[in-house]
Amino acid sequence: MSRTNHNHLIKMVILLALGIFALAPQAVLASGPTEAYIYQQGDHNEGTIRQSARDSLAMQYQLGDDNTGYIYQSGEGNVSIQLQSGQFNTARAATIGNNNFAIQTQFGASNSLLIWTKGKDNLLVQTQIGDDNRASALILGSKNAVSQNQFGHGHSSRVRVLGDNNSVDHLQFGTGTDLTVAHFGDNAAIGVFRFGL
C-alpha cells in the first residue's frame, strides 16, 4: 500500500469515527434535553423552576431586589421565560401540556403576573412596565393566544379562556384600569384597549 493510500485510509477512519460519535447522542435522545437557566443579580431574589418532561426550556432573569419567579412545566416542548427588573415583582407560570410558550416581563416595582395553562400549542405574553400592576391568565384549551400588556400604575387584568383557537389582546395605559375577560368557546378574537388617568 502506498503512503498516499494509507493516509487516505486513516482520514476515512477518522471521519467515520467522528461521524459515529457525533451522531450517537442524537440517536439516543430523539428529543432535546430539558434545560433550566436562572440569572439573578441583586439581593433576596427567589427563582424556582420545576420541570418533569423532556424537551422543555425554562429561563429566569432577575435584576434588582426581592423578586420572585416560579415556573412549572409538565409536558414536552414547553418554553417559559421570565424577565424581572426592579423590586418586589412576582411572576408565576404553570404549564401542563405540550408545545406551549409563555413569556412574562416585568419592569418596575410590586407587579404581579400569573399564567396557568393546560393544553397544547398555546402562546401567552404578559408585559408590565410600571408599578403595582396585576395580570392573570387561566387557559384551558389549545392553540390559544393571549397577550396582556400593562404600562403605568395600578392596572388589573384577568383573562379566563376555555376553548380552542382563541385570541385575546389586552392593552392598558395610564393609571388604575381594570379588565376582565371570560370566554367559553372556540375561534374568537377579542381585543381591548383601556387608558386611565
Binding site: L18, A36, Q40, G47
Partner: protein
C-alpha cells in the same frame, strides 16, 4: 512506526468525542448564575443531568441534590461565607467545586440513595474540590 501518529491522533479525537458526547447527552441541564448577597440555590435533578452554579457575593448558599446515575455538577463561588452542599446519590457522578474567599464551607456526599437495596450503587464517582484563602472547611464523605 510511521503510522503511529495517525492512530494516536485518531485515539485522541475519538476520546474527545466520547467525552463530549457523554456530557452533551444529558437529559436535564440546569444553569444558575447569582450576583449579590445572601442568595440561595437549590437544584434537584434525576438521571443523566448536569448543573452549573455560579455565585458571586457574600453569604450565598448552593445546594445540589442529584438522584440516579451519571450526573455532572459544577459549583463555583466567589466571595465570603459561602457554602456548598452537594449530594450525588448514584454512580458515575462527577463533581467540580471551587470557592474563592474567606470562611467558605463545602459538604460533598457521594453515596447511595436512601431507598437503594445495597451500597452497590457507590462506584466510579469523582469529586474535585478547591478552596482558596483561610478558614475554609471542606467535608467530603
Amino acid at each position: 512506526m510511521k503510522i503511529f501518529p495517525g492512530f494516536l491522533l485518531l485515539g485522541l479525537i475519538t476520546a474527545a468525542f466520547v467525552l463530549s458526547s457523554s456530557i452533551g447527552s444529558a437529559q436535564g441541564i440546569g444553569t444558575v448564575v447569582q450576583v449579590g448577597i445572601n442568595n440561595d440555590t437549590y437544584v434537584y435533578q434525576e438521571a443523566f443531568s448536569e448543573v452549573i452554579v455560579l455565585q458571586r457575593g457574600k453569604e450565598n448558599s448552593s445546594s445540589v441534590e442529584q438522584a440516579g446515575a451519571e450526573h455532572l455538577a459544577g459549583v463555583v463561588q466567589l466571595g465570603e461565607k459561602n457554602s456548598i452542599e452537594v449530594k450525588q446519590l448514584g454512580q458515575r457522578d462527577l463533581l467540580f467545586s471551587m470557592q474563592l474567599g474567606f470562611e467558605n464551607y463545602a459538604n460533598i456526599s457521594q453515596t447511595h440513595p436512601v431507598v437503594a437495596p445495597s451500597r452497590a450503587y457507590i462506584s466510579n464517582n469523582d469529586a474535585f474540590t478547591y478552596q482558596q484563602r483561610l478558614e475554609s472547611v471542606a467535608d467530603r464523605r
